[in-house]
Symmetry: C3
Subunit: 482 residues, 3 copies
């Protein structure tokens, strides 16, 4: 029948608990196999919430460490007491269950195990368990909560407990237990999702890998380039040792360049996607895999870029306190005074200098704004339309300002021969390539006729009828950036 | 009867699904009318969660794009399969339902539609639908979730699904479905709230409108003022072109002024409210509408002001790298050296200069603290008392420090005639008016006798018996700022 | 029986509400005792959610202020209407209930009261109430929500409602009501937890007390030290008044020192814990109380330290705009020019100066990263492994960089006699003690043989068999920092 709800787990839970009834024990008895850290923490928490707890253990005598009020029995005995059995043992030891398959029949078996590395086994522990115990209702859950958080009640980080399983009723029972422990239970679908749940606690910033790797490569490349162009060049030609420039001067050349390129890379895939859709004449055609992957890590790309921009700001702000800078200025001034030169003020330089500074400041301001709105708690409070307004409209303003900042900084540098040491152009020129491409493509896309064409495709219009069922996600994803 | 709970939707959900039973289908069958993006995404998600999905479509043949495992039938047939029908079609096409009113009778009809602009129709789509189908239980919900988020499972932004409807049982069914999709369902009351839910996805920072508008007006006004007083004046009197000062010098005059004024405006309404309550002798008298509106956007006012303060900080920090500044200092120094003047160090200037700088820094530090605590996730973790402590106590410290900063900066400027170019006083003087008013009024309010009077009123005491039932909210809101 | 669920509150809730039935009133009738702010706000909210509301009041006539649609009756009458009674009166007035104990028998009595100060009474209000009314099912809850938030619906801050009580069914009823009001209900266990819930709204940053106190003491101590060493010394020996240095120069000596010391103090307890475990040869031995306390406020320690670091950055960045600094540089330069000295550029100084600046900048960058990841909403999105990676790995990198920054700043200062004014060493030397200790101990701990020993203990291995049941939490907590 349809829409079974909490009520109907009732009937098969009528095992009178023989452990004596108090006010709380209406919540019933929970059985825990395994007396490790997690087993103990879970037991303590369950007792606090008003459950009766029975531990199943190999050697029930050794119960010194278990929370007060919990019974310790053999696995066989313990299993009989309760409708729900938490399995807090390693996958290797699951086989002991086969001896007590009769006691476990039809009961809820909660697999809370984690592995040591991702995809350690061909199939997830929970699925393996359900094969092992076909007559039990296996539910995967609680493995994302740390024993420490569970016990100390310090759950700020991990209030959400994802639960998955094939039998809906069993899942529901486990979710209710989670709720009674003060956790927020989320239904994660069927047991097929168990693998995902088991991998979750093992992953280490998967989405950040690519952006960080890009950042590292770019930084390394530009570092070598700058060292050759500045330090080596100075030494080779004038025999001057300017190696000290590496620490700040070069860093402050590299960071802004990397930052601007990566910022532009956040918006490039969106533009490419739009052109692809225009070319395909439909949004129901799958994007190439690399584009999908690229799109999914745009947020991280942007945040890494923001980090570099932040460093650039700090490095620029400390310029005047640097010994090198002060010395250069002083000796310059001293020279002028000695030679009795009068220093003429050039309005033009003032304009240029100020305008590139303020473009940079405003750009950074907007940039920070983007960063703040990408904080989970902030993006939760804005609706879809507001989110897109900030991330795309403001995003392009930021890109524009930062590109302008670089342009004004470089100005006419590129047309002075002496800037091409060993025919190597100054770094800032490289940083302008990607942003300019993005901005030009974007300009093309906002031309009314093009814009309407894209919109029509986005609204489902198709020029010719090639459709593939799995194309949607990517295409919808594509709209994100525009 | 009272306190009907999840259980009692059971009885009217006993439609055996004839689509063949698997493990998951205990969750039952869901029908979706409409095969657009949202319909498809929702269907996919439902299938993943273990529901059976039937699509109702005008032309059931064209089902190429629908997720695998979903049946596609005519509206009539589809409706018979399920107790719950998601209506993923535009309001304009609702009328087709009238043909199948028999199949829909007594069923749960979920209106997930959104409009193109706010209050597009006199009545909300859901209410219109419930008038159209009086014998169906209309529930509004899911319209705040984006198809993309739903399908990609990337729900960070939008896990919360608000649901409203008149029939409690139907609402409950829809909320349970939401929970099975891994969403957090919130009960939003009766169908009267549908309009609000439908407007939500369309709004664009409604609370930020007023503060941003105020900021823009102030900035524009002060900009004109400064241009006249600095640039035009210099040109008219000495024929000097100092237009370059617009970009940074003027900006750095305007931003702090606007920031300080807006910060003060966050605390002004609270003080006014207190005096109004004192005057009325009760807290149960409605505040004027403008005061209510003002109070509701104090947070946004403060954050915009923080943004301006941040820009002011950056603009001030880059002063020493500016070409103009360096040139002025150098030529000044050169002059002194030429004329053989000895530069005397004045303790007094050092004191004044340092004190105004440090007042500014500390003020900005506290300011940032206020900003951080106004992040949703942070303000969630503090209780009411802590929140008020930060926002009012620390808030006034911030205001005090920033005002002090401005005072010390201006110091005795105002008593030098040459600062009144064309009789126009320097900008910073304007920025002091509002803060001083707020601080003075606040000082009056903290005088013991006044303070106790306000407290007694806040605790419900009334001097004379004029009461209006709706006055509470505003009065309680009033306490926010104190 | 076990696993009673929402369903079974049904049977004892079958009181036909005689107030006339509408669409919504399926939700049933709720009774509120007390017509204060909270009573009114709660009533309004309940009505909006579709409940029928009856107020119990001493003088039912005076109902002018109550929300429209609510009935007002005597306590006796009101109690009869509903299964659930919200008690919105002060603990002092609970006794009036004894008169109507018959009406209340077996009903759900929700204690939403708060006290004026923590642990005002020996036992919590809710427990006192349940003693007073033994035949009613007392539930504690809703006291953490503010009347204003409840009424204005502005629940960003406080959507979570913690509920505790001994009778599970009653607790469940109250939690469902909370959910219908659009709140997220959390089960907080038995009535024993009521005291905690009642103290929550009264606490004022309990975890921040210790760190802030440490910060204040350190600052005060170093301030005195610096004043003597710099200001007093200068006045006593050379009769120079350099008091102006207090505001910025001294502040900028003190802040970084305090910041670095406190940052090191975040990591010291973790290291101590590891050595304690090594010494004990087990992780199941309780840590001394001071260590536990210390560990629990590490996050706050770190954030306070970050605040000081931030001030240090600002104070350092404004150095070049200071009158004092500019004057010193100018007169120095003037002197040189007069005496016709040529200013020689020393590569060594450039290296040292730049390296200490960049170490500082990078350190601050990582520091900010730590701060951002400690934002609740951010730490929610990372799993346990990621959180520990950031907080420990990155944490130590930060500590290392900041210590390096200080070292390079100080460099060989300590071996110049003139830096020991009155035999007082420069401040920065003090700041290095704690960090060096932490880093050295940490280095010892990462030596393979030591590391494995610690790991084995962490995995539950015990050298000798001394066990105490309560040792786990602390030991698990201990692992946090490593």
């Amino acid at each position: 029948m349809a829409f079974r709800t909490s009520l109907d787990m009732e009937d098969d839970c009528l095992n009178m608990s023989p452990l004596g009834l108090e006010a709380q024990d209406k919540l019933g008895t929970v059985c825990i196999f395994g007396t490790g850290d997690f087993g103990r923490s879970l037991g303590l928490r369950l007792l606090q919430a008003g459950y009766l707890v029975v531990y199943g253990s190999r050697n029930p005598e050794n119960s010194s460490l278990l929370p007060k009020g919990a019974k310790v029995l053999s696995h066989k005995e313990a299993a009989e007491y309760s409708q729900v059995i938490f399995l807090a043992v390693h996958r290797e030891h699951y086989d002991f269950l086969s001896d007590i398959s009769d006691q476990i029949e039809g009961k809820v078996l909660v697999d809370i195990s984690n592995n040591l590395k991702k995809n350690q086994y061909s199939e997830s522990n929970a699925e393996y368990l359900s094969k092992l115990m076909p007559n039990a209702n296996v539910v995967k859950g609680f493995n994302t909560v740390s024993a420490w958080a569970l016990q100390s009640g310090n759950l700020d980080g991990s209030r959400q407990v994802s639960v998955c399983g094939n039998d809906y009723k069993s899942k529901r029972i486990v979710m209710e237990i989670a709720q009674h422990l003060g956790l927020i239970a989320l239904d994660y679908g069927s047991l097929r999702a168990a693998n995902e749940l088991e991998n979750y606690p093992l992953q280490l910033f998967p989405l950040w890998r690519l952006p960080l790797c890009i950042a590292t490569c770019l930084t390394a490349a530009f570092f070598c380039y700058c060292v050759i162009r500045d330090v080596v060049y100075a030494y080779a030609t004038e025999g001057k040792d300017v190696s000290f420039r590496i620490l700040i001067s070069l860093a402050n050349h590299i960071f802004p360049v990397v930052s601007l390129i990566m910022l532009a890379m956040c918006y490039l895939p969106g533009v490419i996607a739009a052109f692809l859709q225009l070319y395909n004449g439909t949004k129901y055609k799958r994007f190439p895999a690399w584009l999908d992957k690229w799109m999914l890590c745009r947020k991280q790309l942007g945040l890494v870029a923001l980090g570099f921009a932040f460093l650039h700001v700090l490095y620029s702000l400390i310029i005047p306190v640097r010994y090198y800078v002060r010395h250069r200025q002083n000796s310059y001034l001293a020279k002028q005074i000695k030679n009795n030169e009068t220093i003429i003020f050039q309005n033009f330089y003032a304009w240029r200098n100020d305008s590139y500074l303020s473009a940079g400041i405003l750009g950074f301001g907007f940039y920070l704004l983007l960063g703040i709105t990408s904080l989970p708690s902030v993006s939760n409070t804005v609706n879809w339309r507001e989110f897109r307004f900030v991330q795309s409209k403001l995003g392009y303003v930021t890109l524009l300002l930062c590109t302008l900042h670089t342009f004004l900084y470089g100005w006419d540098m590129f047309c002075h021969a002496h800037n091409y040491r060993w025919f190597l152009p100054p770094t800032y020129m490289f940083s302008l390539i990607v942003p300019c491409i993005v901005l030009i493509l974007k300009v093309i896309l906002v031309i009314p006729c093009v814009d309407t064409a894209v919109m029509r495709i986005r609204q489902g219009f198709e020029r010719h009828a090639e459709k593939t069922p799995y194309a949607k996600k990517t295409s919808i994803g594509g709209t994100l950036a525009l």
